[in-house]
Amino acid sequence: MTRTGILLLGLGLSLLAGCSDSWNNPYPDSPSDASVLYSAFSERPKHLDPARSYSSNEVEFTGQIYEPPLQYHFLKRPYTLIPLTVEAVPTPRYLDASGNVLPADAPASAIAESVYDIRIRPGIRYQPHPAFARDAAGRYRYHALDAAATARKSRIGDFEHTGTRELVAADYVYQIKRLANPRLSSPIFGLMSEHIVGLKELGAQLEKAVRDNPDAALKLDDFPLAGAEVVDRHTYRIRIKGKYPQFIYWLAMPFFAPVPWEAEVFYAQPGMADRNLTLDWQPVGTGPYYLAENDPNRRMVLKKNPHFHGESYPVEGSDEDREAGLLADAGKPLPLVDEAVFSLEKETIPYWSKFLQGYYDSSGISSDSFDQAVQFSAGGDPQLTDSMREKDIHLITAVAASLWYVGFNMLDPVVGGLGEDRRKLRQALSIAFDYDEFISIFLNGRGIPAQGPIPPGLFGYVEGVGGLNPYVYEARNGRIVRRPIDAAKKLLAEAGYPNGRNAKTGEPLVLYFDTMASGPDAKSRLDWMKKQLDKLNVQLVVRGTDYNRFQDKIRKGNAQLFEWGWNADYPDPENFFFLLYGPHKKVGTGGENAANYDNPEFNRLFERMKDMDNGPARQQVIDEMLEIVRRDAPWIFAYYPKSFGLRHGWVHNVKPNLMANNTLKYRRIDPVLREARRDDWNKPVLWPIVLMLITLVAVIAPAVIAWRRHERKTA
């Protein structure tokens, strides 16, 4: 090798090494002893505006930046709401149609309005932001910029001055009005306009204002909203139509977080939107973190908000929490991590590899890497493999507040309707679809067979044999066992299809399953579904389609059987039962009842249950509702998914909280341990480079020799 070659190789190697001993370190600039959490996101968030962000990959960020009035207790189960920016969890006052105050136990039919007076704590301040910056005379520095002035700004950091101000009640009211802004298309506007007094009318007014003057900015303060008013500097009032106890849960979501008017004025200036300087991409909040770097194509960085109002790590927890070390930081000021770096990682292979190298602090488990990470004990409990345990990796499992089901279109002439024969047909099919087997084959055990629409952890769910679905399962020796296939065959015969054939015509029973699943993985699942019905001699025809056509079929009621799922918005059974409420039918109303199930008795009980407070009386109503839906079987209750996650030994205070989205502030990192392990795990292996050089020489040398021989040859 020439001297230049050696120099170049040396330069390359030193560049690779950088400041770290690990050549493969993807964070060359990060100090090794910093309290930084490293994570990844697979899909870039679409919206960071609290009026719009809804999906989990969005609230992962907005949940750390924006602060709604309430939050879920980090450790307590069942999920418990506690104050975040307010002095106390508000309790509603009930008013009748004449405005008279009703007692707390007044019947829902007598309640015309529920009034929530919400008092926020004084002294909470926003993150540093140029929208608040003022000059010596008290004027806003950056509220009257022209296009030339903004032309040189591409990031929030390009603005020299920042400022802050105190959070006031008006900011919360401002945000509630923003839900009605037609330019924002808030996903919950339709739902909230049914509940918040005057919100629907405000939406119509704002729509007209936008139509009349499409280019003008909307000044929301010019539009009053009867259902959200400022009472004093730190108190605001929300008025809800009738009784809607579930509203309190919405107050724990970023939709109801405060937005300062200054931010909207700042971002509305000419040239800002062209550089993606919008509230949808550059949040302004009071939370423990602010978005310091926002490059959703590469990485997003949250840093500790220097003006954070202060909050302590919870001191209450269960004995299990204490044993798990989750109370070791009790009382310590939050947040415990200074910075969180989220890198875009679209593919699972590099994500998994980086986790094993120690460059991500935690990870999910994809199907590809499941066997490498998890094994099941003789008793069926998931355990980490030896290789994971050697690396001091910990397994975290939790049953999601979600449900998957196979829906029957209740408007379909073959499987729908509330007649006894159709009911028995659906019950027979429910037994035949062996979801215990499905969970074992396709989910690696990551699920629990569903007994009804309410997942574990929510009020109304009954553990053990007491909560089994008697139409599909039975109790044997204290265990829940699927009923035998003969029971399904008997039901099928009673439904008019003995041995899978129509008793009158002799025609085989053919059912149609609509799905948007495709690809090799989906094929094996669909084959499994066909096999389940083969047990009853019933044919299943799979109709594959794309997302749009599938939605269209469901909307128009053209599907027969279909697979669907639901994630809880809040921990209340109403959020699952409403999916079966008749007036919410997909066909005709566009509601969320995709099966178009409409049982008057169930509807009546639902209307009663939704307004009740949790307690024995509510449980009794829920039990009655469960009995109805289990008997009618508009869904095959498939499974409650179970999430499996991994964390390294240097990550502390991890407890799955499937309702809260602001748990980053509780995490603690041991950066010294992490650095030591990273160094240990990522020592560069140099022999392949040497081998490659030798191979190169071995290939080139004979060629050079041959060329020299060729050149010396006489003609």
Binding site: N24, P350, S353
Partner: protein, 325 residues
């Protein structure tokens, strides 16, 4: 030549309108504006009113191609096609469905795409030409035969395999480079080395075989025999004469892809976490973001046309027999 270039640029206008119309038709055959709204608004709590509001806000509440309710030229201009297409000819791409400015995204993402594509082109060209010349030098020997076999083997392996194998061995097993990621400046070198290496190796098979064919064709020509007759060494014959004349088809083949380097690579960028235009396009297709898909197709078509014009120009430069009229 100026008149020729101007004429070709004018030809580009109807081509781009056609491409735009085709993209528009294909996209809206599969998706309706209602579908787009539903996808953007999510699966929960979506009301018909919310869909109408989204469509109005994003300009999808108009007829697709013809507005019978309007009068005069407004029948054509007050449509989704016109409203969303006309500005593109001034390279005003508007906003994606997520509200981000497409022009800004393209400008931001061009750099990372080029950071991978340019080294891959340059290094790949040098490696492929060197390997092809080596095979030509040892033509009709076992070295040539095994070289061709190696090329066929390399060509037969899926590009994805190179990526996964590269990440597994170099980044995971030997810890020599980061498995994925991107950074600006000098720090970015450690991130681009692996994707460049993988892409170059993946391209050797097809590239070297093609160049070998070109060089073999040249080596049988009279001027090569004359050069040899003059007593020039084989190396001088190959590098001074064969390479120079063989470069004409190579150069023109390279020039046509030069503008397209900006468009990036779909799979490579996705696997290596490169925030380039390739991953932007694939994300937009998955998200049914018509505004971005249309902008990227338009840009790709425009750059391809520019590439073809540059190819014609390069022909006239490298081959004096070609005249552009």
């Amino acid at each position: 030549m100026f008149a020729y270039i101007l004429r070709r640029l004018l030809y580009a206008v109807p081509i781009l309108i056609g491409v735009n119309l085709l993209t528009f038709a294909l996209f809206f055959v599969v998706n309706t504006p209602d579908d787009m709204a539903r996808l953007q608004l999510g699966a929960k709590h979506v009301t018909p009113e919310a869909i109408e509001r989204w469509k109005a806000e994003h300009g999808y509440d108009k007829p697709l191609l013809l507005n019978p309710a309007a009068e005069g030229t407004a029948q054509f201009t007050d449509t989704i096609f016109f409203q969303h297409s006309a500005a593109m000819f001034a390279f005003e791409f508007g906003k994606g469905d997520d509200g981000r400015d497409i022009g800004n995204e393209i400008r931001t993402r061009m750099g990372p795409s080029l950071a991978i594509a340019l080294p891959v082109l340059v290094v790949g060209l040098m490696v492929n030409i060197s390997f092809a010349l080596l095979m030509v030098f040892f033509r009709a020997t076992y070295l040539d035969l095994w070289g061709v076999v190696l090329c066929v083997v390399l060509m037969s392996i899926s590009g994805l395999f190179y990526i996964i194998a590269g990440q597994y061995f170099i980044a995971k097993l030997w810890n020599l480079l980061p498995i994925s990621g991107f950074a600006g400046g000098i720090d970015g070198l450690r991130f681009i080395l692996l994707p460049v290496l993988v892409s170059v190796v993946a391209g050797i098979g097809s590239g070297a075989r093609w160049y070998r064919t070109i060089f073999l064709e040249e080596i049988g020509k009279d001027y090569v025999r004359t050069a040899r007759a003059k007593g020039l060494s084989e190396v001088r014959v190959l590098f001074r004469h064969v390479l120079k004349n063989g470069m004409i088809p190579i150069l023109t083949g390279v020039v046509v892809v030069l503008p397209l380097l900006f468009m990036g690579s779909l799979i490579t960028e996705s696997f290596f976490g490169i925030p380039g235009l390739g991953s932007y396009t694939i994300d937009a297709i998955q998200a049914q973001d018509f505004a971005v898909v249309r902008a990227m197709v338009f840009l790709g078509s425009f750059l391809y046309i520019i590439g073809l014009i540059l190819t014609d120009i390069s022909y006239s430069w490298v081959d004096p027999r070609v005249r552009l009229q």
